[in-house]
Symmetry: C2
Subunit: 82 residues, 2 copies
């Protein structure tokens, strides 16, 4: 079995109100040294597959087809063996 | 500047309907070798700080105080130098 960890973040040029809200909440809790907070998605996919190369292509397709909105989001992923 | 990458996932014992919905959507797109899909949050915090050890303690506190609901979520993080 292989595990894919997919990281999806809003592009740097896209505003991230949820991240900004977390930053403000943390500042009101007394954390004053925060430069930026951004929030994205972490998706963990367990694949019944042995071949890392094929799995990588599959996860690339999955990201483009369903998981990431490439207009406003960047994605990256790692494939690990269990 | 330091960058903290915080990973927050639902605990293994907690159901994850959003992950299940993605799994079903991918299966209907033809991906048949999926064992499990789970979805969590990726939070990237840029800290105006130089000391990795202090930053680690700070991010640990931030996770417990605000970012993670430790009843239903697990968290982990990495601190990287920019």
């Amino acid at each position: 079995m292989l595990t894919a960890e997919v990281y999806i973040m809003p592009k740097a040029s896209v505003s991230d109100p949820q991240g900004l809200a977390i930053k403000h909440a943390l500042e009101s809790l007394g954390y004053k040294n925060l430069n930026q907070v951004r929030i994205g998605k972490l998706i963990i996919i367990k694949l019944d597959s042995q071949d890392k190369k094929t799995a990588g292509q599959q996860v690339e397709n999955i990201c483009r087809q369903l998981l990431a909105n490439t207009i406003i989001e960047d994605y990256s992923f790692k494939i690990k063996e269990d």
